[in-house]
């Protein structure tokens, strides 16, 4: 039945008969590029989470004590909690502008699977939020007297962990994008889901300090990332479809 009589149609108006999914890679690349360009043109939005991260870390020695020995004990947890909150900060804008200007509708109507296109957007979020936070964390670690030998583990665990945070957070962002004031609600939705990542991420750094092997922690983070990569895109896509009808 999919063979309409094309004679009536002018050239150039021939119906698409092939499956459009072969163009998926092209669409993914274009979406990645578009979001990267957009974010890099608004550098403030990229820098804000980083500044926030540094600021929060500054608050702790002032609020608790500048004693390096005390700071060294709490540094892994502080760095992880602060990075987690910084990543959360930029989450609300993940789909917000697309929702406001109508691009989200177009994304939903693209012949490519929505979950894949949404994954591209999440990847950009991680590249410009999670990864910079992970790279910046060791510098703040020095300021918190983080014991040596744990810096690489800190950066690696944050890089892995923040990817999970971006994926889970995107579900929350997709669910709340249609709501006028979704920001606080978004934190309420996703923070409880962040707890396992925090436990294994901060645990990895603590294990490194204690001289214990960290491969188990990182392997679990990797496993969580694999699960999130499998399931989150579907949840994000379903949530976006709900929000667009809101």
């Amino acid at each position: 039945m999919l063979q309409p009589e094309t004679a009536k149609l002018a050239p150039g108006l021939k119906p698409h008969l092939k499956e459009p999914s072969e163009n998926l890679l092209l669409a993914l690349k274009a979406t990645l590029k578009r979001d990267l360009v957009l974010m890099l043109r608004r550098r403030g939005e990229v820098l804000n989470p980083l500044v926030f991260f540094a600021l929060v870390i500054t608050l702790f020695p002032i609020g608790i004590s500048p004693d390096p020995e005390l700071l060294a004990i709490i540094a892994p947890g502080l760095l992880w909690v602060a990075a987690l909150l910084a990543a959360l900060l930029s989450l609300d804008s993940l789909f917000r502008s697309d929702y406001d200007d109508g691009s989200l509708e177009q994304l939903l109507l693209a012949p490519q699977p929505l979950s894949a296109l949404a994954l591209a957007k999440v990847a950009v979020h991680w590249l410009l939020t999670g990864l910079p936070l992970a790279l910046m964390a060791p510098i703040l670690g020095i300021m918190l007297a983080l014991p040596g030998g744990s810096y690489v583990v800190l950066a690696v665990s944050l890089a892995l962990g923040s990817a999970i945070l971006s994926l889970i957070g995107a579900i929350g962002a997709a669910l709340t994008v249609g709501l006028a004031r979704g920001g606080v609600l978004l934190s309420l939705l996703v923070l409880p889901l962040y707890i396992p990542v925090l436990i294994f991420g901060a645990g990895a750094v603590q294990a490194a300090i204690a001289g214990d092997p960290v491969t188990a922690h990182l392997a679990i983070l990797g496993a969580l990332l694999a699960v999130a990569l499998m399931l989150a895109p579907w949840a994000i896509a379903a949530s976006l479809r709900i929000s667009i009808n809101g």
Partner: protein, 206 residues
Amino acid sequence: MSLSLQARHLACERDERWLFKGLDVDICSGEVVRIEGPNGSGKTTLLKILSGQLTDYHGELIWNGEVMRHVREHFLANLLYLGHSPGVKTGLSALENLAWYQALDGQRDNEAAAWEALESVGLAGFEDVPAGQLSAGQQRRIALARLTLTPRILWVLDEPFTAIDRHGVAALEAQLVAHANKGGCVIVTTHHELSSSPALRRIQLG
């Protein structure tokens, strides 16, 4: 047989209120169908259902004789939908905006086509200006450039005349009729009165 979109006993319930019930729609090649009705009568909702965005309806949608849910990908590959909001990124230039839509359509690096399309909607000279610096009407024209740029059979347009000047309105109207005459079909909502043409048909809601 030509391309056709049919709705059978279409009904949509929004929060325990029926927007419309028992609606039968037949749309074929060569038609411009205008959905009419007062505010809140469900015009936009109907367009969203007919463009496959809303799946929460009663009744059946049939695309070329097949149930739409089963041939969704094929349907989407033949559909061009322009919604209330133009879908234009203010941070990107007109060309960059169109480049993304070209990629979603499966076209590889065809900047010449984008230039042509922008010229056809009267945006020559504004190709590289960030869309945020353009007027609302010009942003709408970037979206309308997709009508030329992406050859799709079925156009579903929600208030496409918004913010467009009188000259642009006439050109767009001519474009809709021309598309129908070429064998395409157009479903449109608008407050603007379309001049009568043999291709024009109306569906009354509410």
